[in-house]
């Protein structure tokens, strides 16, 4: 067991940890187990290395991003809530306009706990999924970014554990322990959401994950940031600032892969850049198709009674509920869904509250379109006549209305045979995956980058690209 003491210096926080005996006691129990989990399931092979990481030491503008070398097990995982808004009221649902809750109402204890546990479980899960990627890093810059994402997922776990331990009594403490006991991909104690049980064993998938799957996380956090339960809302608002970095890693990572491919296409005047150990646009497209569609699943069923219940109770709301909507009760409105009736897609009107998952998915799709646009601009800059696309929301779904049928990337209904025949054109084939994996050779020399990815436009914290981000 790793010895540990609770102090403000050791655990940066803005939740008065030094005055909170109950939280201190809970953390004294939990923290050593967290560290053991981190050593056991965190990034493999780099625990003793000095890594140039950003640590949040306060929520002020000069405190939320303090850069220095640190060994990951000594990282100062802190507990931060965004500063309270004065007189904040409940943004949506039946209690919209009432003062927010600073304690959990008994009536919603079980539902809130479940929401928090489900969100929390994804944080350690992604660290576990990515634990072996360090072995094949394309550069020290990327390696450092991976670890930054990992320690921040760890901090997000802390943030959720803080809520569980502070507001949910004994059950909360037990759930906090359970978060350290489940294991991604372990059939006997799997992570809650199935996507988080698939290992991520190469970097193209990591970039796809941090772009598409973490973007789902962003929208879940945006919905939870509108919670009536004030501590949850404030926690999520602070997490969003960190989540933005993860999206940056994904967004720019994919863009750098595209840039490298475009450069090689021009240099050799060809489409197939595989001989030059880079990734053709066709494979990139198939990866996009796979990761985008599986991330769309994470929003849940198009028509959902749980979503309606959570909204009605104010446990979560639409992204930017307070800022962007007028009718916060959403009791009377409808949402038009395209549903399959007798082999035909027809519009069906469902109550707005039951469509909350779909509304969040709409926002997610729009956000992705912006990212896609940046990638296509990269291609245009290189005068490449090729456009990457996002498949239709009905494509390759395993959750919800469309999961029982097959659709092509444009969203047209197709037969099972057509699907089987074409799916390797649309989704990564075994060969694609094997090829991408074959490129994964570690590059750990300062300023050097793997054959399949371009250097970043600028380094971390305004440092140069050849900075020693990780001391190997």
């Amino acid at each position: 067991m790793v010895a540990f003491s609770i102090s403000h210096d050791r655990i940066p926080n803005n939740v008065h940890l030094s005055d909170d005996k109950r939280l201190q006691r809970a953390l004294e129990m939990w923290q050593p187990n967290f560290l053991n989990w981190w050593l056991d399931m965190g990034p493999q092979g780099f625990q003793e290395k000095d890594i140039y990481l950003r640590t949040a030491t306060s929520v002020d503008s000069d405190g939320w991003a303090v850069f220095d070398y640190v060994k990951m097990p000594e990282y100062r995982w802190g507990i931060f809530l965004s500063p309270p808004e004065k007189n904040r009221t409940i943004p949506g649902g039946d209690f919209a306009g009432d003062p927010v809750w600073n304690e959990v109402p008994g009536e919603f204890r079980a539902s809130l706990r479940r929401l928090i546990v489900t969100q929390a479980d994804t944080e350690p899960a992604s660290v576990e999924q990515q634990r072996r990627l360090g072995e094949t890093c394309p550069s020290l810059y990327d390696l450092r970014n991976l670890f930054q994402v990992n320690v921040e997922e760890g901090r997000h776990l802390w943030a959720m554990v803080y809520l569980l331990q502070t507001y949910f009594g004994r059950d909360g403490r037990e759930e906090a322990e359970a978060l350290l006991n489940r294991r991604s991909g372990n059939i006997d104690k799997p992570r809650i959401l199935s996507t988080f049980n698939e290992p991520i064993d190469e970097w193209l998938s990591l970039f796809m994950f941090t772009n598409f799957t973490d973007r789902d996380g962003k929208f879940q956090l945006l919905a939870l940031a509108e919670s009536a339960f004030e501590p949850l809302s404030r926690t999520c608002r602070f997490m969003l600032t960190e989540e933005a970095h993860h999206l940056f890693v994904g967004q720019t990572g994919i863009q750098r892969v595209i840039r490298k491919t475009a450069e090689l296409m021009n240099e050799h005047d060809c489409d197939d850049v595989r001989p030059f150990e880079a990734i053709p646009l066709s494979i990139i497209q198939r990866y996009i198709n796979f990761w985008y569609s599986s991330s769309l699943d994470l929003f849940g069923s198009e028509q959902s009674s749980n979503a309606a219940t959570y909204f009605a109770a104010g446990l979560k709301a639409r992204a930017h509920e307070a800022r962007d909507y007028e009718d916060h009760a959403a009791k009377t409105g409808h949402y038009d869904l395209e549903v399959l009736k007798n082999g035909q897609l027809v519009k069906e009107s469902i109550p707005l509250r039951n469509a909350m998952n779909e509304i969040l998915r709409d926002d997610y799709i729009k956000d992705n379109e912006k990212g896609l646009n940046k990638w296509n601009i990269e291609l245009q800059k290189h005068h490449i006549q090729h456009t990457l696309y996002l498949p239709h929301r009905r494509f390759n779904r395993t959750v919800g209305l469309y999961s029982d049928h097959h659709f092509d990337p444009q969203g047209h209904l197709i037969s099972k045979d057509q699907w089987e025949e074409s799916k390797t054109h649309w989704l990564p084939s075994k060969e694609d995956r094997a090829f991408v994996k074959s490129l994964m050779k570690p590059v750990t020399e300062r300023g050097h980058y793997a054959s399949w990815i371009a250097p970043p436009l600028k380094g971390i914290n305004a440092l140069p690209n050849d900075f020693e981000y990780v001391k190997i």
Binding site: A110, P190, S305, T309, A312, R353
Partner: protein
């Protein structure tokens, strides 16, 4: 839609029944879109009546067609859930009478599982892989043991109170404390946590017997099934096949071979006439086996059972059932005497035993049928042996005083056909009057008992002569069917079940009665009730008055 109760393993849509030597495997794999009605989807192995009709059929067929079976493993073919219980949207849109009848039928089926365990040496193992919620857990509770997968997620739960504002209606509350002996305060916690209890805590509270990790789950279930199959002693080879029940129907007349059901819509009453065997029934085990489901004692009671179910579900405004019998009472007595003798040997004949157990279950189904029951004992009727039980099951009996009107008692009334409270119908009839009961017992082998003696012994309610009989009966029927059906249901259920309580009577009286009350309250089914609002965009609003 006219609801039918007959099915066959080849026609099951929601269950798969596989028999491998002494182990029967029942796999629940509900087809979402193939429920009884089309306006709900049976997601996550949730069930409606169509699923339960198949289960009841399977249990019955295992007993008669696969008597060698020692272990039944109930498992799920659904990846995510063992079963999420009765489908909430189905319940939400069902009429009150359908909900009540649905719950009664599912309760009877679960009790039949326990009856098979107790009397037919069949050990039920529930392999609960995934969500085991509400009625799903109640199905597990009806098994002898529950093995739950330990994957950090799968829990057993009774979420009805916190989630739906109703009660677990299939014996859950009763079995948690009475059968599994979960401490009552822990049961209180369990029944108010919608997500339920999982893992080691479920074992330590005795909500399940064991938890096993996912990777070892199948093996553990298999090992346990083999272990139990090896322990019990049962070596039966010859089975019988349950032939389809044939019923000709027209204009509210349902004609089976031995049973005749006639519905009088206008008078809101039904007449069920049961005919005695037309010829002497076989006496030896071999002959009886050869007849199989054509044996009167099985065939007539299967038909009677079907007729009662038809009435319950399809004719809810029929308030009263008249039981009549006809034929040669001696054939009944002889037939039953052979059956009883064959079960009292050192190696009881399994089929005779199952036929008598089936008879017991059908009579119990009549006991809990919420219609006024009246028996008319008229000349040339055949109220003998098991059919005499109808006189004692009824709320009232009218006997026409006539030289050809008799009741004949036999040992079958002694302890073969107990009610749900564990008493024979005669013990219930003479509760608090042991001397009277003794008097009656002395008449068991004395042949026909005439009207006058029946009156003296208190075997019937009224004995009337030819001048009064017809008019008295008519007046009674008219009067009875004019009273409040709700009050009658409550009154009859109270008077029928005199004496001690058992798990079974608690389920049908305490649990079902409260459930049926909760079902009609606004807090459950009113516009702002929890059941009405489940899955809707609105939250329930309770009237917090305690009654």
């Amino acid at each position: 839609m006219f609801i039918q109760f007959q099915t066959h393993p080849d026609a099951y849509r929601h269950w798969r029944l596989k028999i491998e030597s002494q182990i029967a495997r029942l796999v629940l794999d509900v087809k979402e879109d193939e429920g009884l009605y089309k306006d709900y989807k049976l997601k996550l192995n949730s069930y409606d009546l169509s699923v339960d009709i198949e289960l009841a059929d399977a249990i019955s067929r295992i007993r008669f067609e696969h008597p060698e079976v020692k272990v039944v493993v109930i498992s799920s073919g659904n990846e995510r859930a063992f079963s999420a219980g009765a489908n909430i949207f189905m319940l939400g849109q069902s009429s009150h009478e359908f909900k009540v009848n649905f719950c009664k039928f599912t309760n009877e089926t679960r009790l039949y599982m326990e009856d098979a365990s107790l009397h037919s040496g069949i050990h039920f193992i529930c392999a609960a892989s995934g969500t085991t919620a509400g009625g799903g857990y109640e199905l597990a509770l009806a098994c002898d043991e529950i093995i739950l997968v330990d994957d950090g997620n799968s829990a057993v739960s009774l979420p009805e109170v916190p989630l739906l504002g109703v009660l677990p209606g299939t014996g859950g509350l009763t079995r948690v404390v009475d059968k599994r002996k979960v401490r009552k305060d822990l049961a209180d916690v369990f029944c108010t946590i919608s997500e339920g209890i999982k893992g080691e805590r479920a074992v330590s509270w005795n909500l399940v017997d064991t938890v096993v990790s996912k990777s070892h789950f199948q093996d553990a279930v298999e090992k346990r099934a083999q272990e139990v199959a090896g322990q019990t002693d049962k070596s039966i080879k010859k089975d019988i096949q349950l032939a389809p029940i044939i019923c000709q129907s027209s204009n509210n007349l349902f004609q089976y071979d031995y049973v005749h059901l006639e519905i009088d819509i206008e008078k809101r009453l039904a007449t069920i006439t049961i005919e005695a065997p037309r010829t002497p029934q076989p006496e030896t085990a071999e002959e009886i086996s050869q007849l199989g489901s054509e044996l009167w004692a099985l065939k007539a009671f299967r038909e009677l059972d079907e007729a009662i179910l038809k009435l319950r579900f399809n004719f809810c405004d029929i308030g009263l059932i008249i039981f009549k019998t006809k034929g040669n009472p001696a054939h009944i007595l002889d037939a039953e005497k052979s059956l009883l003798q064959l079960t009292k040997t050192s190696q009881p004949f399994w089929f005779a035993k199952e036929v008598l157990l089936h008879m017991k279950r059908v009579l119990k189904r009549i006991d809990v049928t919420s219609r006024s029951l009246v028996t008319l004992i008229e000349p040339h009727s055949a109220f003998a042996g098991s059919l005499a039980e109808l006189v004692f099951a009824a709320d009232r009996s009218y006997m026409l005083s006539h030289s050809e009107s008799f009741i004949q008692l036999s040992n079958i009334s002694h302890e073969t056909l107990p009610m749900g409270n564990g008493l024979s119908r005669l013990e219930a009839r003479y509760y608090g009057a042991p001397d009277m009961l003794e008097n009656v017992r002395h008449r068991f082998s004395e042949g026909p008992i005439d009207a006058k003696t029946c009156q003296t012994l208190g075997l019937v309610t009224f004995v009337l002569d030819e001048i009064d009989y017809e008019d008295e009966v008519r007046l009674f029927l008219e009067e009875r069917t004019s009273l409040s059906p709700d009050a009658l249901t409550g009154m009859e259920a109270n008077l029928r079940f005199i004496g001690p309580e058992t798990l079974e009577t608690k389920i049908f009286s305490r649990l079902s009665a409260w459930q049926n009350w909760v079902f009609i309250r606004d807090n459950a089914t009113g516009p702002t009730g929890a059941l009405s609002n489940y899955g809707k965009p609105t939250r329930p609003q309770f009237d917090f008055t305690r009654c």
